[in-house]
Symmetry: C2
């Protein structure tokens, strides 16, 4: 096949056919079309499928989604019909940045492909520890991660083999909690083994609520329990896991919910720098270096509150980053403004239901970032308390002490609790203060909130805590008070 691009049309090569890659491919085509320019967009995808919702896999396994195909937003045929030269089963193996050339392998062998602009959107791989593999290097049959559609299919088959199996989940973060829901709803006995706490980036009080709800639904939650080894029969059937503390748990199936890592290995040696996580570090436009762009789960991103690089791979970021990278690769101008660390999930089994959301920094994260922060937990109800649908909700808010800048919030509660985080995320995006959050005009009606919305009560109480005695408060701080409502100066509080 062709080496460097000798055709007349500019060629954009996208490596990766999921959210970021295909967003980039289509946005590049849109920009070119709007400018009346012809470009060629070639996309290389390792697997046979494109643009699927990895986040939806646990719900497919749980039985909420009929077919894996339902998780596919756009299949390869659709992408091709829309003008992308999509090549599936095509694994990029090497990039030559000087020669502007990608090497990839498919069923027919190895190929080289020249590019004018390259978009790296290779995503991430599930972390699979050495103890999960046999001597042949293969992962044991009853063990697997939950990353792609093949993983999902495998888990559906394993869960369907017989009910009442003992499913051990290694990892208590998002995927761990979601797979615990799926397994318990599928009628299995579930044990979650987690290195520190369940949902460990939550404040301890909120993490405990998640664990309590899971246990109420019959899930055994074991914290401080990192898996170290696996006992396997001669036939490769797993029997038990042992933690670093030496405790053993019987298990029929083992879910690897240990996180993901950027799929950037094939770039090693080509001169692109990666961060601590192994993720690429493109600028806000998705730019890495001349003619090279990156987006999605293979990248780190800037945290707007700390300015630090963080690895927070999420489909919603991948879509946005891909759109920006594609626009810019085609000569447009669009920036991805970074993240504030917003995330949401739920645990739902029978009547046990809990929404879990966070944004910004936890108190520990704020302190680790060198900020003088304070946090406070506030309890309330999701609707006016007199309505039958009212459910408990707990909100933890963090703010910087002297500047009163809002730093983060976490919410755990019943129906309608989770998406409340978006108001806080918006406030963080705009650099607002805890007083802004306490006093802004949020929606109230009895079926939706209490008259003092619980998120605002939480912010107000924290704001009151931050207020020093008026006598000791330097006047320049009063003068430099928040631009919006809230106390400019206050009386002493007990």
């Amino acid at each position: 096949m062709t080496s460097t691009n000798s055709g007349k049309r500019e060629r954009i090569v996208v490596i990766g056919g999921d959210a970021a890659g295909m967003s980039a491919a289509h946005q590049a085509l849109r920009v070119a079309k709007a400018r009346g320019r012809e470009i060629e967009v070639v996309a290389l995808e390792r697997t046979g499928y494109t643009s699927y919702s990895a986040c939806g896999i646990p719900y497919w396994i749980a039985g909420d989604v009929e077919e894996g195909e339902d998780l596919v937003a756009r299949d390869p045929a659709r992408h091709r019909a829309m003008g992308v030269d999509l090549r599936t089963g095509a694994t990029a193996t090497r990039v030559d940045l000087d020669q502007k050339r990608v090497t990839y392998r498919d069923a027919d062998g190895e190929h080289e492909l020249g590019y004018d602009q390259l978009v790296v959107a290779t995503g991430a791989r599930a972390i699979v520890p050495a103890w999960a593999r046999g001597a042949d290097g293969e992962v044991y049959a009853g063990v697997g991660p939950v990353k792609d559609l093949d993983d999902g299919e495998a888990w559906i088959d394993r869960f369907a083999a017989r009910s009442g199996q003992h499913v051990v989940i290694a990892g208590g973060s998002y995927i761990g909690v979601e797979m615990a829901e799926a397994a318990v709803r599928r009628g299995h006995r579930v044990t979650v083994l987690t290195r520190s706490r369940v949902m460990s980036t939550l404040e301890p009080e909120l993490s405990k609520r998640v664990a309590d709800t899971m246990e109420a639904a019959g899930v055994e939650v074991v914290e401080d329990a990192e898996v170290q080894s696996l006992d396997v029969t001669g036939d490769g059937v797993i029997e038990k896991v042992t933690t670093v503390r030496g405790t053993t748990y019987s298990c029929d199936l083992l879910v690897l919910a240990l996180g993901i890592t950027p799929a950037t290995d094939f770039l090693s040696g080509c001169g692109l720098l990666v961060g601590k996580s192994g993720g690429l570090q493109p600028d806000a436009r998705g730019h890495l270096r001349d003619g090279v762009w990156a987006a999605g789960d293979c990248c780190e991103t800037r945290h707007r509150l700390t300015g630090e690089w963080v690895y927070l791979p999420l489909g919603t970021h991948a879509n946005k980053q891909g759109r920006a990278a594609g626009e810019n690769a085609a000569g447009g101008s669009l920036a991805f403004g970074g993240v504030v660390g917003t995330a949401i999930t739920r645990f739902a089994a029978d009547q046990h239901y809990l929404e879990i959301a966070r944004t910004g920094l936890s108190l520990a994260e704020a302190e680790a970032a060198g900020l003088d922060a304070e946090g406070l937990l506030t309890e309330g109800t999701t609707t006016s308390g007199y309505l039958p649908e009212a459910e408990p909700i707990a909100v933890h808010v963090v703010a910087e002490r002297v500047t009163r800048r809002l730093l983060g919030a976490q919410i755990v509660g019943g129906h309608g609790a989770g998406k409340r985080i978006d108001a806080v995320a918006a406030a963080l995006w705009g650099g607002m203060t805890v007083d802004d959050l306490a006093w802004m005009d949020l929606a109230y009606a009895p079926p939706f909130a209490t008259a003092w919305e619980v998120v605002q009560v939480a912010a107000r109480r924290l704001a009151e805590r931050l207020t020093p005695l008026v006598e000791v408060r330097p006047s320049r701080l009063v003068a430099g008070a928040p631009r919006t409502s809230g106390p400019a100066e206050r009386g002493s509080k007990p």
Copy 2:
């Protein structure tokens, strides 16, 4: 009783014992206590009850709340136990601002009460047109508003008298929609007569969705149908209503859902200015003039987007304004930063369920305010489309063309649609752009949103519409681009 306050302790008199008044009373006590000062807080309440949720009354009537008392957040005994000298059945009739004296009437006759600081929190009265009253000036038996607990009790009795009555609701705004829900859920035949459209501050397309859902639930919705007169038998039994267009509708019961008006009549002649609505116009601290404060439904408030005075009486504002006025009346300093026009409600009967929310300005309101605005409607789903719980959601976003400033949004949709408005309200509070809304970091997981959250798709599409051809875009606008992400400069769009 005492005339001007001759006691040693400073006396704060609060007129009105609902959300704003009692928030003010308690906040004043808290501030004084924190400062080690003794003050006396006297609150005068016309009725026998305090601090009740007026917004909850339709749900009580619908059967979701057992007792009217359940709507009372704090009863008189509780307020007294907390240190407020609360006098119920006490109607303020006159205020002498020079003499700092309030005249009030109770069962024992007329009294005068001196004050050092006065907080006016008299709330609002339901609008009752002349045609709703007989020759004796009394409202007909089958007719009534939905403002206080007595109204609620009356509607529960009327609805319970027999099922299948024809309930006509005059007014298609929040209370009208909520009472339609209550009446249809109670087994009555319901007709809503509304002057313009149902939820007339919504964009026409969204208003139509509300009307369609109500009609699907069996409610007859008649727009452009202002009630002009009532036919009543010699016994005072109502029989039919006639609209200004001359159409008549039979009716057994008639709900007055025509809005409320500030209860400020008793202040006439005392020298306090009121706005167009009849509402007082305190500053952000709740201050009117020396020693006089006001809060709640008797006040207008500043709209943060236009700077204009608006009358948007809501419990959530009343609570905040009351807190600020009470704090300031007691010598503290706390500001209420105005409103952005956020509101929410729902219509729910059987399987017919719709959440309705708005914030900021509608396109018509923006244009009326002299802004060069553009709006766009976007459709999506409340959760990822492949989940069984996904419901339709429609989002209309408005932004200012040249500055790209976000001006407002409206949302109509299924479960979880309504409170999404809070993210937009937060963005409006912070003066953010439509690009900020499109690109900010909002929460995504399949049970909560699509990977491109529908509110952000709506903002992004509008942002793309606002973008002029790059060739004609003045460079100073590029330089003055939004401080956060979003296009600083873009290619031409078809």
